[in-house]
Amino acid sequence: MTHIDETKLPGVGALHCFDCQSGDRIGVISHHAGRREVIIYDSDDLDRVGECATMTPDEALVLADLLGGTSVTHRLDDLRQEIDGLAIDWLPISGHSAYAGKTIGDTALRTRTGVTIVALVRGDRPIPAPGPDEELHVDDTAVVVGTAEGIDAAAQMLVAAGS
């Protein structure tokens, strides 16, 4: 297993690095604003950025796809479907979400948007039909059902509010 070195860049985001067997060192900066920088370190000076490519979150996903890895939540994202005014969607709870750490009751999601959280996916474990006392954790994925507009509003609340 490759060892990944994680360091915080205060005010910028986080830097993840790992060494390849070839001796190259690869790094990724995840900016708070969502931008990603992919770095190949200078082979003469492994602490210094040699080449660097900046990409949007979407482009970073394309790169991840090309390299053969996609995360569960994002694949789920594409499965969004609509049945006659009824929509279902998967909303990730990011670390910046104002509702991370709060209970489903606290969000008053159903009162405010008409959208119901029918399940939570925490890691690999689904929590079907969570009660109002269930807490939303960072990196949970909330499976929600409602109208398309309602879900957009819910996404604003849970996701966009934090990005």
Binding site: P10, L46, V49, H96, S97, A98
Partner: protein
């Protein structure tokens, strides 16, 4: 009636406009020669102050108020740079580096102040001036040079974070000491101020998310008004409690993260640039240019000593986490730049009038290191390459 412009208001607009145009010109010049704009703004201030080329009459009051807002915005956005998590993580991993930074860089200023026979409080202010690196200049340098992803950068940023935390305690401490009075009053004043700072920090780290969720508004206009309003009110309260307006603004900044923070950085950034420029001009115009040349010699010595001490700080801190020597050299040279926060501290000294030599010395000192620091940072990689090449050549010769 606003339309019936009085001669005074016409002069105000002319003076203010002329200054902004001049600053814009200087900013372009700075960008052209890849030096920070802060020293040029200071020079502009010197030129329009007492004994300068052209003395301002009507715009001075406006610039003074603008300068106060500038300090508040500088500290507000500084606080916003960091979330509670990042503060605690930086402290956990890099506390020794922060301590070395404080000892190595605070001491030279204090020692010089004492040698010059200044009041101990003035010496402590000079210590603060030599201690604090310019996070504005350094952030710009890191991104200009493409060094953000370098492995020594987390160390550099962590040191800047600890400096900012030290500032949060240092500013109210100095504010308390400068009021004077009997030791009991000073002690009480300082302990109240520092308790408030610590309480606010804990609140910010624990409830920052909720606070910023409450402040956040989708409309930029509303967000701008609420943020600026809150920052000014808290800064005003802090100033009233003698804890220094800057600290109040800094704490508001720390309390805000998440949605409010990202939007706020975008909308407050340009405002900060405008008022911070006024702040540098105002600091410059309080200083008589005639006082500058005599201070230059001492400032140069101080600059050399404290550039060396920052180099040592960066070198040691980077070595501590296993960075090779070229990275250590970069970390050390990156930290050398002094700028806005040294001027914030010097501004407190000038406003207090505690030591008339301090203002010119601080101005000369910042002029030297705001320009010289970044030049050395840019030279770090070429120097490292040169040394590497020489080593390789000498190895080839001996082989």
């Amino acid at each position: 009636m606003i339309l019936a412009a009085t001669p005074g208001s016409a002069t105000l607009l002319l003076e203010l406009g002329a200054i902004l145009v001049a600053l814009a010109f200087l900013g372009r010049l700075a960008a052209r020669f890849k030096v920070p704009s802060i020293p040029l703004y200071l020079l502009a201030g010197l030129a329009v102050g007492e004994g300068g080329i052209f003395e301002l009459f009507t715009a001075r009051d406006f610039i003074e108020t603008g300068a106060q807002i500038g300090v508040i915005l500088l500290l507000l956005l500084l606080g916003m740079e960091f979330t509670g998590d990042e503060l605690t993580a930086s402290l956990r991993d890099h506390a020794p580096a922060g301590a070395v930074d404080l000892v190595l860089n605070f001491t030279p200023g204090v020692v010089l102040g004492v040698l010059l026979g200044w009041d101990i409080r003035a010496a402590l202010l000079l210590g603060g001036i030599t201690y604090i690196s310019s996070s504005g200049i350094i952030a710009r340098l890191l991104s200009d040079l493409g060094n953000t992803g370098n492995r020594e950068t987390p160390v550099v940023l962590a040191i800047l974070v600890t400096e900012d935390l030290v500032m949060a305690l240092y500013l109210p401490l100095m504010a308390g000491l400068l009021i004077g009075g009997d030791p009991f009053d000073i002690g009480l004043e300082i302990s109240i101020a520092i308790t408030a700072v610590v309480a606010a920090l804990v609140l910010a780290i624990k409830f920052g998310n909720r606070i910023s969720a409450a402040v956040f508004h989708r409309s930029d206009e509303n967000l701008l008004l609420s943020l600026l309003g809150i920052a000014l009110v808290v800064a005003g309260i802090a100033e009233h409690l003698q804890a220094s307006a800057a600290v109040g603004a800094f704490l508001v900044g720390i309390a805000l993260n998440g949605p409010a923070e990202h939007a706020a950085r975008n909308i407050l950034g340009p405002l900060r640039d405008l008022f911070a420029a006024m702040f540098f001009v105002f600091f410059g115009l309080q200083i008589n240019p005639a006082d500058l040349p005599p201070a230059l010699g001492i400032a140069a010595v101080l600059a050399v000593v404290t550039a060396a001490s920052k180099l040592a700080t960066g070198w040691w801190s980077a070595a501590r986490v296993g960075i090779d020597w070229p990275g250590r050299l970069r970390a050390g040279t990156t930290l050398m730049a002094r700028g806005e926060f040294s001027i914030v501290i010097a501004g407190i000294a000038v406003a207090d009038g505690i030591e008339s030599d301090l203002g010119p010395l601080a101005a000369a000192y910042v002029l030297i290191l705001a320009v010289g620091g970044p030049l050395l940072t840019r030279a770090a990689d070429p120097i490292a390459n040169w040394i590497r090449r020489r080593n390789r050549d000498s190895r080839a010769v001996s082989a």
